[in-house]
Structures are given as structure tokens and as C-alpha cells.
């Protein structure tokens, strides 16, 4: 445990930028929205900025990326596959706890199953993570319901907590500790840990009612979704409000479905690209020959909430698939963000 003066906290990011491409929360002037991006200058990183509009998932799982390329000379019957995939090392600076949990969902899903996703692993091997405790929740947050905040518990290299004049810096890995020591940070004592606890408790006491109301209900709803005890009409009601825009998927820190496409270039070589996809799209399950086993939109919506809120899916993430960031609630034009879905199901349970 270490301490760093508030005015000097970005020096950590400066130091990291010698080895890594540093990403952090930056407030865009025109829109006043926060984005988790690589800033022009480290000084643009704003640790007090609200939760980024988009999760940092693009840093470890880009929206579109080339996984390899090839060329085929039909005349000479020669195929050449060039596997030169090499992502750059990245440091994620000032990640919120919910988003760290999102990355951990992706880790367990992509790396911790029967097969390892080499592409994702390659990104992750080179990621340094510095989290930032939320000293106050934002309007749409409900990480307290999904056990993913407001302070990170594990999975970071360094975790920072704003204690007023200084940040408490906890090391979660050897390389995190090494960095703090190299920077000559002051050691913190047990009093600082107590101060952190007070900050976190204060944060927890300030969540909006959408979070506090749903808190006790999430596990009930998870139970219902897992056991399939939810009436078809409820899914239909939810499905009918979906515009199939895919926004919820793209802003979700733990959504990871992707598409693979071979795209031919002008020089007659071909790129194999993978890009984000969404289970809300009608073409998602359509097979060659046009047979589509999953047609009605409620079938598809039901799938997303099953992914976020069922025990069977939690087995893959070792936690619920929803990390309580509230972004889908923010962006959904149909008003069926996850907290609302919990509310609908909860109403159904209580109306019996």
C-alpha cells in the first residue's frame, strides 16, 4: 500500500506511457461526455470524470480487428497465410470497478474455457490495469446489486482511492508493486485503509433508488431466469420494445459476441476480420440457405438477458454477466435496459 499526492497522480500514467500505450477517461469538450481513449497528452486524463460512455472493452477486444491475412494465387495454386497479429501493450488508467469486472468476464470467457481465444489472450497478456474507486456513484450505476463495485477487489495491478488530498495506491500484482516502488511512493498505513473503507461506505450509501430497490431482487430474478419460470408474455412484452439497434451490446462491458468476415483488398489479398456483433440482430442466427431458427425478436432479447442474468451463464464468468454499469439503460431507445428488465420481472413475480 502506497500513497501519492493528488497533484502528482498522473505521474503514474506518465511512467506507464514509457512502456505502454496509456488509455484513460477523457472528457470530450464538445459533447461533455467521457470516453475511455488514448489521450493526446497524459494531462487530459480526468480521474474525476463520470463513468465513460463506452466501456474500455475496445482496448482488449477492438470493435474490428484483423486476425490474419492471406493471399491466394489461383493460377499458381499457391496460398499464403500471414499470421502477424501483434497488438501493442496497453495500460488502462483509471478504470472503474464495474469495467474491471467486465474485463474479467471477458478473461474468463475467452481464456478460461475449453479453448483459449488466442487473439484476446494476445491483447490481455500485454495489459496493465490501474483502477479507480468510485467515491460517489453516478446516476445510472447499480454495481452494488451485481457485486462489482464501487471499489475493485482483485484483478488490477494498481488500485487507487481518492482520500481527499492524496490517493491510496494498492498493489494487486508484483509488477504493480514494482512500479510503485520504482516511483518512490510513500508507504501507507492501516489508518489509510480505514479511511478508504469510510470512502467506500459513503459511496455505497449514495446509490440511486433504481439500484437500492433492485438490490435484493437481482438474485431472485436470476433464479427465475435460470429456471425458466418467466412467462412467455413477459419476454414478448420486453421483446416488442426492442428496436434491434444493438446499442446495448456495444456499450456492455461483458458482451463479447463477434462476427468473422473475409474481406478482399484491392491488392488481391484478403483480411480475416473479426468485429462486434449483437444477438439482437435478425441475421445473427440466420444460416446459409436462409433457415433462421431464432426469428421472433423476443427470442433474441430473452437470449441477452439470459446471458447477463442466469446461473448457467455465470458459470462461464464466475459471476453474473451484468456488472451493473447501467450503460444499456442509458442508451436503449426501447427502455429495456437491464435494470428495467429486472423491474418488469420483479413486477411479474410480485403480482402473483
Amino acid at each position: 500500500m502506497f500513497l501519492i499526492k493528488k497533484s502528482e497522480v498522473l505521474k503514474l500514467a506518465e511512467e506507464l506511457s514509457k512502456t505502454y500505450a496509456v488509455y484513460g477517461p477523457v472528457v470530450e469538450k464538445e459533447s461533455n461526455q467521457t470516453f475511455f481513449v488514448r489521450p493526446d497528452s497524459i494531462g487530459d486524463i480526468d480521474l474525476d470524470a463520470p463513468i465513460p460512455s463506452q466501456p474500455p472493452k475496445h482496448t482488449v477486444f477492438p470493435q474490428i480487428e484483423r486476425i490474419f491475412h492471406y493471399s491466394y494465387d489461383k493460377g499458381a495454386k499457391r496460398a499464403e497465410i500471414i499470421a502477424d497479429f501483434k497488438p501493442e501493450p496497453k495500460a488502462l488508467f483509471g478504470l472503474r470497478s464495474c469495467d474491471l469486472n467486465g474485463v474479467q468476464c471477458l478473461d474468463r470467457f475467452f481464456i478460461g474455457q475449453e479453448f483459449t481465444d488466442d487473439v484476446y489472450l494476445e491483447h490481455r497478456k500485454k495489459t496493465f490495469i490501474v483502477t479507480n474507486t468510485c467515491v460517489k456513484p453516478f446516476k445510472q450505476c447499480f454495481c452494488v446489486c451485481t457485486d462489482s463495485g464501487p471499489s475493485a477487489r482483485e484483478g488490477y495491478d494498481l488500485n487507487m482511492t481518492d482520500l481527499g488530498d492524496e490517493y491510496l495506491v494498492e498493489a494487486g500484482s508484483d509488477r504493480g508493486k514494482a512500479l510503485a516502488e520504482k516511483m518512490g511512493l510513500k508507504k501507507a498505513g492501516s489508518g489509510h485503509l480505514e479511511a478508504k473503507k469510510a470512502v467506500v461506505d459513503g459511496s455505497i450509501s449514495r446509490f440511486e433508488s433504481i439500484a437500492t430497490d433492485n438490490k435484493a431482487w437481482i438474485s431472485r430474478v436470476m433464479n427465475r431466469i435460470t429456471t425458466g419460470f418467466i412467462k412467455g408474455e413477459i419476454w414478448e412484452y420486453i421483446g416488442n420494445q426492442c428496436f434491434e439497434c444493438g446499442a446495448c451490446t456495444f456499450v456492455c462491458p461483458s458482451c463479447s459476441c463477434f462476427n468473422i468476415e473475409d474481406v478482399n483488398r484491392k491488392d488481391s489479398s484478403t483480411d480475416r476480420l473479426r468485429s462486434w456483433d449483437s444477438c439482437s440482430f435478425e441475421g445473427y442466427t440466420r444460416m446459409a440457405g436462409d433457415h433462421n431458427p431464432r426469428k421472433p425478436v423476443e427470442d433474441r432479447r430473452n437470449k441477452r438477458f439470459f446471458c447477463k442474468l442466469s446461473y448457467s451463464q455465470s458459470k462461464k464468468y464466475l459471476r453474473p454477466g451484468c456488472v451493473g454499469c447501467g450503460r444499456c439503460q442509458w442508451v436503449c431507445p426501447g427502455d429495456i435496459g437491464l435494470p428495467n428488465v429486472v423491474t418488469y420481472i420483479r413486477r411479474e413475480i410480485t403480482s402473483r
Partner: protein, 284 residues
């Protein structure tokens, strides 16, 4: 990245395809061709192991990749795939000629049971090109004829010219105790076999209910009728086995396109018992 991907655990190509050559192409029925393949990396020809019921991801260079079941037996059989033209990528495959290259990833999927069903009667029920994914198991079981009870093939197609692998069936029929019942939907001149839907053959063949496993593969309508009649005959839902098809992109349980119920066809399937299929809660 490890060159082929995941090579610590397995020697199969997971992310980066292996290059293979089309040695020979055989026209099967309309719109279906068989492609005999061999790996350019000769080491793989010996070490590429498959299980009946598994599938591979096949890249047609410049067009894309598709999932396809493996018809060859895991033992002593030539490596090949039989593919129907159904879309952009398979159309492009059909344009290729002997000598052309393709890319192969896999094999993936769980595969049909083999050791578990030794000592039992085995019934194959196929409709149309549904015989393609069953071919591997049929050949394998026939290679070990003495380990099984009755071996029965019930096969139906729209017309005689829609019967897959007819030349193979003739060969299998010479094997002692291999029973075949073949039907076409509507009578045509010169047809000496059965006429009607394939589920009607179940009674004709006097399919035994005890100690029997059935492998069923074909279009959804046929599937439902066959299941109904097999169950009516007394087969248990966990001794009826099928293989499912889904839109697939990665083959390794990551892209999630093939999610069905709480399972993924690529890693939990493609082979399911009917008991499992019933719990998926989705259209097959």
C-alpha cells in the same frame, strides 16, 4: 502468437487455418460435390485425428469460411468433405478444381458415441443430405461389424436422383447383416424400393426397441416425424442421437453465434441426444 493457435494443448489449427489441397472432386447429386483433401503439411496427414460427428471450418480463399461435417471414418478412410451449394462461400467452393487450395481449422465438436454403443443395435435414419454427417459413423461401425447387433439404415429422399452416396450404399449392402431400407417420396418409373416418408420405414424394418440406439439426421419436418415414431416404438429419448446445425463463425465457443438453449453447438454439440434437445427450448 503461437503459430497455429492453442498448440500447447492440441495440434489442431484453432485460429489460423492449415492449408490443404483438393486432390479430387466428385459430383454427387445435384448441387452436392465431394472434395478429397490432403494437407500440404505432410506431418498432418498422419496426425490429423477426427471423431465421427465432428466438423471442421473450411476456408475458401477470398470468399470466407464455413462449418462442415466430416463424412470420413476416423479409421482408414480418405479425408474428404461433401458440400451442398447453399450460399456465397459454398458456391465459391464449387467453382474450385482439383489442385486448388483451401484452409482447414479443426476438427471441432464432441462427436458421436462409439465405444459407448458397442453391443447395441444401431439404426441410422437419414433424410436427403442428412446422410452426409452420418456416413462417418456408419463406416466406422461397419469396420467393427462384430461389435454391434443389428445395423440398419433407413434412408429417404425426394426422388432417386436425390439419394446421396448411392454407390457407397451398394458397397455397404454387401457387408453381412447390414440392412437397408430406402424410400422416395413419390413413385417414379423403374423405382423398385419403397415409396413414402422415411419414418414409415421404422415399422417395415421392425426396428427393435430394446438395446438400440438411433442416429437421426435430416430436415426438421422429417426429424420430428421420425422422433415421434421411434418413441412410439419404445426407444428412449436418450438413445436417440442427432447432430444440429447452426450459423457458426469461430468453432471454438467464442463468437456465440451457434448458441442454442444454454449450450453452444460448436463445443457442447453438434451431437445431442433427443433428451438434451428437448431441454434446449429452441427450434432445432
Amino acid at each position: 502468437m503461437c503459430e497455429k493457435g492453442n498448440c500447447e494443448n492440441t495440434n489442431r489449427a484453432v485460429t489460423i487455418p492449415e492449408i490443404a489441397t483438393i486432390d479430387e472432386i466428385k459430383d454427387e447429386i445435384e448441387d452436392v460435390k465431394t472434395f478429397y483433401l490432403s494437407f500440404d503439411d505432410k506431418k498432418l496427414d498422419g496426425s490429423f485425428r477426427i471423431k465421427s460427428g465432428q466438423f471442421i471450418m473450411c476456408t475458401v480463399f477470398g470468399a470466407g469460411e464455413f462449418a462442415v461435417s466430416l463424412p470420413p471414418s476416423p479409421e482408414n478412410d480418405r479425408f474428404h468433405i461433401s458440400v451442398r451449394k447453399v450460399g456465397k462461400v459454398t458456391d465459391a467452393l464449387h467453382e474450385l478444381t482439383a489442385g486448388d487450395k483451401v484452409g482447414i481449422r479443426g476438427p471441432f465438436g464432441n462427436g458421436f458415441p462409439f465405444d459407448e454403443i458397442k453391443g447395441k443395435n444401431v439404426v441410422y435414419v437419414a433424410g436427403g443430405i442428412g446422410l452426409i454427417p452420418l456416413r462417418s459413423s456408419i463406416v466406422h461401425v461397419l469396420q467393427h461389424r462384430e461389435d454391434f447387433g443389428r445395423i440398419i439404415l433407413l434412408y429417404g429422399a425426394r426422388s432417386p436422383k436425390d439419394l446421396m452416396y448411392e454407390y457407397m450404399i451398394e458397397k455397404w449392402q454387401k457387408i453381412d447383416g447390414f440392412e437397408t431400407f430406402i424410400s422416395i417420396d413419390n413413385p417414379v418409373d423403374g423405382w423398385k424400393g419403397e415409396v413414402g416418408f422415411v419414418n414409415q420405414l421404422i415399422e417395415k424394418a421392425n426396428v427393435p426397441a430394446e438395446n438400440t440406439v438411433a442416429f437421426v439426421c435430416g430436415p426438421p419436418v422429417m426429424f420430428n416425424n421420425v422422433i415421434r415414431d421411434l418413441m412410439a416404438r419404445g426407444l428412449k429419448d436418450d438413445s436417440i442421437i442427432s447432430t444440429l446445425e447452426r450459423h457458426m463463425k469461430c468453432g471454438i465457443g467464442k463468437c456465440q453465434h451457434c448458441a442454442i438453449g444454454r449450450t453452444l453447438v460448436c463445443t457442447d454439440g453438434p451431437v445431442y441426444t433427443y433428451r438434451q434437445i428437448k431441454t434446449l427450448g429452441e427450434q432445432i
